[in-house]
Subunit: 159 residues, 2 copies
DNA sequence: CGCTTGCTTCGAGTGCACTCGAAGGTTTTA
DNA sequence: TAAAACCTTCGAGTGCACTCGAAGCAAGCG
């Protein structure tokens, strides 16, 4: 269960003082490792419905359960949700993320496939960034145009 | 009709040798200024359906017509479609673009509003780029992890 | 003890941005 | 002159990613 492959999917489950920790409604408490679904809701901003849906469609690894069958999310799971959130922002379709999750579940034999998938994703993200920077340039151009026009209007008063 | 405001929306209608010209299926021919809808389809990759839909929802400026009522797109219109395409890539909802288009149609009184809208958009785009770069960092981290693991597996053979 | 939280399954609804097709007409072009 | 391209209006369909509600039951806590 705790293969190197899985470790690769989470990076740091126990460490907490990573680099940046942006879009969490509540900060994740230290030293704990099994969260109820409502806690995860609070941390991630996702709904319980969505969380269960992610599980249903195979986007999540196996989530631990309490002895009575309630979900207990680990830090690892939270890290995964973090990654999913990031990938979602890149516009990656859920189906692709599911594919990746499947590879992880399939175990150590899928290293190369996962590697390639990550590289392809990186290429996409880079391309996306380039597009956005292109757009930003256009926006900047327009904005400076408006700024100039605004100054002209301001000083000359009409026309 | 040909106010400075409108000019701001197109930048260069007559000039053609701008900086970059990425996602056009066909390059836009020089020296011409009224294209049929099928030409625009070829240039933009949008369908005629979508082009007419854009018009219906108010996303386009008024498109010229031939004396028999057929659409004749100008370079200006193509530039606008270019901008729309870029903004679409940023994830801006169509409704917001329509709002912007409305401001342009309303004329010179809306300078400030447009300026502000552009600045807000720029902020969004910048934020989006930052997010993506964040994601890219995660991806790079993972990729190097996999690369290392792959090397280890390759040399040690299993485990 | 009762309220809150959680579980399951089911299926329907939402919002966005198209996307398509059809009907019935006019115009352009080879 | 015939085929191809264009026009209009209408309405329905698609794909994605949720999103919600309800029914009916089990567990936890204060």
């Amino acid at each position: 269960m705790d293969t190197t492959a899985e470790a690769a999917e989470t990076g740091t489950s126990t460490r907490t003082g990573d680099c940046a920790a942006p879009p969490h409604r509540h900060r994740r408490p230290d030293g704990q490792d099994n969260y109820t679904i409502s806690e995860v809701v609070a941390f991630t901003g996702l709904t319980a419905h969505t969380l269960r849906w992610y599980e249903r469609i195979g986007l999540m690894p196996h989530i631990d359960r309490s002895h009575t069958g309630q979900r207990r999310y680990s830090n690892r799971d939270l890290d995964w949700l973090d990654l999913v959130g990031k990938l979602r922002l890149t516009g990656m379709p859920v189906a692709d993320m599911v594919r990746y999750a499947e590879l992880v579940r399939e175990g150590d034999d899928t290293y190369i496939a996962r590697f390639e998938l990550l590289e392809a994703t990186r290429r996409d993200v880079k391309a996306r960034i380039a597009e956005l920077q292109d757009t930003l340039a256009v926006l900047d151009h327009k904005i400076s145009f408006y700024a100039d026009a605004g100054r002209a209007l301001g000083s000359e008063r009409s026309r």
